[in-house]
């Protein structure tokens, strides 16, 4: 089974802090994704990556950056956290470029910015 591991289930940070959310997958998947999930808004794509050192902006990249130095690890960075970034963050991975490939999700990180 695919295992996508997010480093923290719950995280509390302060406004202005630099925040790192880590995601690791163990299936050698090419693609990795970061979403945020908010009630009534569903999942919105922040950034994604099709390969090491490669990144693409999703629908809501403002205030975020990402890093993919190794194939199995995809980090989401909040450069200067703000209260409107309080949310559930989901990491996902998938194999190949086909539309048929399902995305596999981690357990999520519930981030609170105070």
């Amino acid at each position: 089974d695919v295992k996508v591991t997010q480093s923290s289930r719950y995280l509390v940070k302060r406004t202005g802090e630099k925040v790192f959310l880590e995601c690791v997958q163990d299936m050698d998947h090419e693609n990795m994704f970061w979403y945020r999930q908010d009630p009534g808004l569903g999942l919105r794509l922040i950034y994604f990556s099709y390969d090491v050192k490669m990144k693409e902006k999703g629908d809501i990249p403002e205030g975020y950056s990402v890093s993919r130095e190794k194939k199995e690890r995809f980090s989401l960075i909040l450069e200067s956290a703000s209260t409107n970034q309080t949310s559930m963050y989901l990491c996902a991975s998938s194999e190949g470029q086909g539309a048929n490939q399902p995305q596999h999700f981690g357990d999520g990180t519930r981030l609170s910015i105070l």
Binding site: N31, F33, Y35, G40, L41, G42, L43, R44, L45, F48, L90, A92, S94, G96, Q97, G98, A99, N100, Q101, P102, Q103, H104, F105, G106, D107, G108
Partner: protein, 113 residues
């Protein structure tokens, strides 16, 4: 732009009964896939079922089946013989080449014992 609409924020069903969750989508693509994901409370999102756009036959996975109407751009999920473990948030998703997913806003399903 691709959009996915789930018009039912909340649904409830009696245990052992059948419930249908609605999903519509908008696209100009011809080659795409549709998915239903389930997210139980405080648990991981998992794949329930997927449908290939070029296949007319509706996908089925045990108690879960879809009603795919390509011309109407409709993709509903039917859960038969509902069980308590089916209680979850359900998300409809659209995927095109490049494996970018577009998710609906979700339907929260309650199963009444």
């Amino acid at each position: 732009a691709q959009t996915v609409t789930q018009s039912q924020p909340e649904m409830s069903v009696q245990e052992a009964e059948t419930v249908t969750l609605s999903c519509t989508y908008d696209t100009s693509e011809s080659d795409y896939y549709l998915f239903w994901y389930k997210q139980p409370p405080s648990r991981q999102m998992i794949l329930v079922i997927r449908q290939e756009a070029y296949k007319q036959q509706n996908a089925t996975e045990n108690r879960f089946s879809v009603n795919f109407q390509k011309a109407a751009k409709s993709f509903s999920l039917k859960i038969s013989d509902s069980q308590l473990g089916d209680a979850a948030m359900y998300f409809c998703a659209y995927s095109k080449r490049g494996n970018q997913f577009y998710f609906g806003t979700g339907t929260s399903l309650t199963v009444i014992p």
